[in-house]
């Protein structure tokens, strides 16, 4: 039957266009449902893994999904803000490590995540280069940010104004890159991490300016008495925090009223988790506490339902495709009647001709299977990351 396989192969190779069309059709028939299922499963796994690893999330009352998506994936849709006071209240309970998050701002499209150093050990993030942010204004960037914006340790990023017309509000702060993180395959790869107080500087709640007590500040002084110095509008404010001017940066007002997007609470143990949840349920602490896994679980149920409908649709389409391919195939066999007659007259058996035809089908199916496997492998390795990137849009 080697001869039949050879002839089958040569036939397919000769009719390249037809073979390519068949190959594509069958490949898609196999790939689309398989990839849909795998990608959804992989994405769900990635989503739930991150949610599983985030025990408790605290935020303002409102949409739980928005809170979770923003805190876990730095989604652009921001929940209502809470204050730093809530962070302190959680810390004072002694029941959990409280990690602040402020995700209001962006730098060239990458979300700026204001947080504390605890976040990195919590997420298991390691440095690929440099060090953790140390001085106010320094940042640590995710691997994808470094790659896409072609920046590294020693370079800088500038925070983006929120609107073109709000330049006097949100502070375009030049942030020096202290470190670059190892790739983690999560939303952290696409983020710019700063100390939460840096985000308050960006927001204009803190700033740095020339020292009004020093002699050279004369032109910027409006009035001066024993107890107070009033500055005028010519006061120079810094848009970059350096070792030389960091002492001139300060906050005005009570920082406990400064905003946060959310607080990640890592309870000391199961009992602490229950006690902390009780405090929120009883209203002892004002805000909402959610279990990210539960919130995402509800979302994923919907996703799986949609997935099933999509796969059903694809299966129906596949059946139609099979019908069309069968028709094309039968017509093709009719057209090849003369060829088969020649083979029989030359001495080929009926079995030989059947094997020839079957081998053509077999090659197409095998080729499609291999292509579909390769595409599925590619989709699993690259498309999952691509799909999850939509979480940060």
């Amino acid at each position: 039957m080697r001869g039949a396989l050879f002839l089958g192969w040569r036939y397919l190779a000769h009719h390249r266009f037809k073979t390519a069309v068949l190959l594509s059709a069958v490949t898609l028939m196999i790939f689309l449902p398989a990839a849909t299922r795998l990608l959804v499963a992989d994405s769900a796994l990635a989503l739930t893994a991150r949610a599983d690893h985030t025990p408790l999330l605290i935020g303002a009352k409102g949409s739980q999904l928005e809170l979770v998506l923003n805190a876990l994936y730095f989604h652009a849709e921001r929940p209502p803000e809470i204050t730093s006071q809530l962070l302190e209240e959680v810390r004072e309970t002694g029941l959990a490590t409280a990690i602040p998050l402020n995700t209001r701002f962006q730098a060239r499209g990458a979300p700026i995540v204001g947080t504390s150093l605890d976040y990195f050990s919590f997420r298991g993030l390691d440095l690929a280069a440099g060090r953790m942010m140390g001085l106010l204004g320094e940042c640590v960037i995710g691997a994808n940010v470094a790659r896409s914006q072609n920046v590294g340790v020693g370079d800088s990023l500038v925070s983006s104004p929120e609107t073109v017309f709000d330049l006097a509000g949100v502070y375009p702060l030049k942030m020096n890159i202290a470190g670059v993180l190892e790739p983690s395959g999560s939303a952290d790869d696409d983020a710019v991490f700063v100390d939460v107080r840096t985000t308050w500087v960006i927001q204009g709640l803190g700033h740095g300016h020339q020292d009004l007590e020093k002699a050279g500040a004369g032109n910027a002084v409006l009035t001066r008495n024993e107890k107070a110095i009033t500055a005028n509008a010519s006061l120079v404010q810094y848009n970059e925090i350096t070792a030389d001017n960091v002492r001139e940066f300060h906050f005005h007002g009570d920082t406990s009223g400064f905003p946060l997007s959310a607080v990640i609470a890592v309870p000391n143990d199961a009992k602490s988790s229950t006690l902390l949840r009780g405090r929120f349920q009883n209203g002892d602490i004002d805000g909402q506490l959610v279990l990210p896994r539960t919130v995402l679980g509800n979302l994923l149920e919907t996703v799986f339902t949609v997935q099933n409908y999509v796969i059903l649709g694809l299966v129906m389409l596949s059946l139609a495709t099979i019908a069309v391919i069968t028709l094309v195939f039968l017509l093709s066999q009719q057209l090849r009647h003369g060829e088969f007659q020649t083979l029989k007259r030359m001495g080929a058996s009926r079995g030989f001709v059947s094997t020839l035809v079957a081998s053509e089908l077999g090659f197409v199916f095998l080729g499609s299977l291999l292509l579909a496997a390769a595409l599925t492998w590619g989709a699993r390795n690259y498309a999952t990351e691509f799909l999850l990137s939509f979480m940060t849009l």
Binding site: S116, M132, G134, L136, T230, A231, A243
Partner: protein
Amino acid sequence: MKKILIILLMASLMACTDKAPDNQDASDTQTRPVVVTSNYPLYFFASQIAGDQIDVRFPSIDGDPAMWVPDGDDLAMLQGADLLILNGAGYESWLAFTSLQGDNILDTTATVETMLLPIEEATVHQHGPQGEHSHEGTAFTTWLDPKLATEQARTILQGLSNLKPDQSGLFNANFTALEQGLYELDRSLARAFAALDGQPVIYSHPVYQYLQRRYNINGRSLHWEPDVEPGTRDWIDLGNLVRQHPAKLMIWEGEPTVSVREKLTQMGVRSVVFSPAGNQPGEGDYFEIMNDNIAEFMALF
């Protein structure tokens, strides 16, 4: 046969890579917890208590540690420390602009918060529609009061014992010796300042609040730096101050310039240096510096 040899070779290579590198031994610094302090007195106290059980470090700082701005290497050291021993009372102004892990910080004045002194002479600045803003603070040279210093050392003892519980016996014994030293220092300082007998003094810089309170010193403060020539305004302020507060002695945190010393002498004001010992000394330790301070002071009487 060939396969067995290859397996043996691979096993021996693996065994070699498991071996510890040559530059490490069992008792090297990498197995000891690392503790970093924010000023020299705390470094001294922690070193006395810990002995060689803990790697106590104090960053190399140029100038006053209270005005320190840590660089990249310093920040890495602070962030990597197992325990960060701070003075508290607002001493570490750099906390306001640095990012540190929250769970390894030890505030040595947390237990004596009620005994801290406010800074009365704070300048306020304002700008914009938000109005007046104050930068009031707390006096932070707490270690100049041996009683407060003892409490700070006690907090350090607790912190180090939590870090290395198996050595708490040793730490306790070392603390007892340190406590005795601070007690004797307190008595020496009391004897020294008793010689003032209520006479008014002037401080070159407002860093002696706790010394003043502890030993009932009648002092008022300027804002002079030892290495900076005072301007005309400064001399006028001094003159006005002396008229209200007829001091014959100015206590400096560092050696003033010869010309300043001479001019003060002409004004009838003697100068004496009492180093707060906030930074690592060129030579000597905390007790030696304090004893040198006492000796120089006593030489005036």
